[in-house]
Structures are given as structure tokens and as C-alpha cells.
């Protein structure tokens, strides 16, 4: 039998927590799991002391569950065995001419003013589609950095990777996303 206070957490904060998780994990199933784990942990630990609002306290637990979920996702394919994202791997050279000067193959385009762009629904939709096309690990790491706002130290500690590796992966994520946007948004 669920007691009423615990039941209220799901009723009152379930959707909020779900949206918070979805914004960071993007996958509805993973987001649902994170919410479930959060409420379970909340009930089992009973550490809520009423010093903060329940929602703030639950969100604090959820943040850890989100990191756990990202870590699991990254572990499914260990980085050490993944040559794709190691420094100086040939893939990054698709963007630069091998002429000694390493100039851009295609000069980045001017996307205009940020304010205007961020208000364009279509731009944001295409960006989401571009994120779907990134290797899942790169997308996770990118979100962990940009949306979850984990700092580099936290990312490296939680995911057990070196700073250099994190920089390379974030670089690749950014290169991939901007290229995809130039093809599918600027090039419409």
C-alpha cells in the first residue's frame, strides 16, 4: 500500500520530473526509468527533512539518476574500444583539405543573428533531427555538457574518460551538428 505522501509525489511532481529528465535524456523510456528510480530512492531513503520544497529535493535526486542513465549508455560501448572518437582519427579530416594548411573544405556559413534563429521552430526541429543522427554516445555527452551543464571535470569523473577524450568527442559532436544543419537547414 502506497502511503498518501508518496503517492502525491508521483501525482504532483511526476510530470515535472519526467519533462526534466526528457530534456536531458531525450529518450522517453530512459526518462520514465529515471523518474521511477528517483521516486523509489526517495521513498526508500526517507531523507526528506522538509528543509526544501519536495520538488527541489526530488529534482536533486533525479539529477543523479540522469547521470547514472547517461553513464550506463556510455558503458554499453566502452570508449577505449571505440576508435571512432580517438584524437586524430581520419574522420575529422573530412572537414579540412589536406593541403598542409588544413583549410576548411567548405567554409562555415553565416547563420545570422542568434536571436532570430532561436525563435525559428523549424531550425530547432532540424537541430533535433541532427542530434538523432549523431552517434548516440556523442549526443549523450553533448547533452550532458550543454543541457545538464555538467562541467568537464564531472563528465570525466562520471564517465571515466580523459579530458582530452571528452574535448575530442564534444568537438566531433559540434562538427557533426553544424555540418548537418548546413546541409538540411541552410541548404533547404
Amino acid at each position: 500500500m502506497v502511503n498518501s505522501a508518496q503517492h502525491d509525489w508521483l501525482t504532483e511532481h511526476g510530470d515535472y520530473l519526467y519533462r526534466f529528465a526528457l530534456a536531458r535524456l531525450r529518450d522517453p523510456h530512459q526518462a520514465e526509468d529515471a523518474v521511477q528510480e528517483t521516486l523509489l530512492a526517495a521513498i526508500q531513503n526517507q531523507t526528506f527533512e522538509g528543509k526544501s520544497a519536495p520538488r527541489t529535493w526530488l529534482t536533486g535526486i533525479l539529477k543523479h539518476k540522469i547521470i547514472d542513465s547517461m553513464r550506463r549508455q556510455m558503458r554499453e560501448q566502452p570508449l577505449e574500444h571505440d576508435g571512432d572518437f580517438l584524437p586524430d582519427e581520419p574522420g575529422t579530416d573530412e572537414f579540412f583539405a589536406d593541403d598542409g594548411g588544413d583549410h576548411w573544405n567548405e567554409k562555415p556559413q553565416n547563420w545570422g543573428e542568434p536571436q532570430g534563429l532561436l525563435e525559428q521552430k523549424q531550425f530547432l526541429i532540424i537541430l533535433q533531427q541532427c542530434m538523432d543522427r549523431l552517434p548516440p554516445k556523442l549526443a549523450s555527452l553533448f547533452l550532458m555538457r550543454e543541457v545538464h551543464e555538467s562541467d568537464n571535470e564531472e563528465i570525466c569523473k562520471e564517465l571515466d574518460i580523459s579530458s582530452t577524450n571528452a574535448w575530442v568527442m564534444l568537438y566531433r559532436a559540434r562538427m557533426g551538428l553544424r555540418k548537418c544543419l548546413e546541409l538540411h537547414w541552410m541548404g533547404r
Binding site: 500500500m1 508518496q6 583549410h103 567554409k107 543541457v147 568537438y171
Partner: protein, 86 residues
């Protein structure tokens, strides 16, 4: 003088850490003469703002809710949690 490849890496890293004086100076010199890398720098800063905007939109979208099935799955799980025996 940095190549565009080196410069673009430093631009990306500058969003992650404080670059050394030497790197910052080299990057500054490169960006004063290189339109392409300057545009790249603007693009990736914009990407950061854009994914944060998408995240905020998801967080604030009242139409995004746990489905009835998901809610039931969670409620069932919570109901069987040993915590309730305490």
C-alpha cells in the same frame, strides 16, 4: 600560425576550459584574419544556446506528460517497494 583545423579545435575547447595564454593568443591572431573560423566560433556558441533552448522548451511544455501506462508502471513499482514496510 595555427591551421584552421587546430584553430577550430581550440575554439571548441575554449567552451570547455580556460585556454592557456599561448593558445588564446594564437587563436586570437588566427581569428583576426580568418573569416571561416570566426563563423565556426559563432556557430558552435549558437548550437549551445539552441540545445539549451530546446531543453527549456521540453521542460516547460505542459503537454509533455507521463502516459497513463507509464504512471501506472511507476505506481506499481512504488507499491512493491520494500520502503513501504518501514
Amino acid at each position: 600560425m595555427l591551421s584552421c583545423k587546430q584553430a577550430s579545435r581550440l575554439v571548441s575547447q575554449s567552451l570547455e576550459r580556460k585556454l592557456s595564454y599561448r593558445d588564446r593568443f594564437a587563436l586570437f591572431l588566427h581569428l583576426t584574419v580568418c573569416d571561416a573560423c570566426t563563423l565556426f566560433s559563432r556557430q558552435i556558441k549558437l548550437l549551445r544556446q539552441a540545445v539549451q533552448r530546446i531543453g527549456r522548451n521540453v521542460e516547460q511544455d505542459a503537454n509533455t506528460v507521463l502516459s497513463d501506462e507509464a504512471r501506472k508502471r511507476i505506481a506499481d513499482k512504488l507499491g512493491s517497494s520494500p520502503g513501504h514496510l518501514l
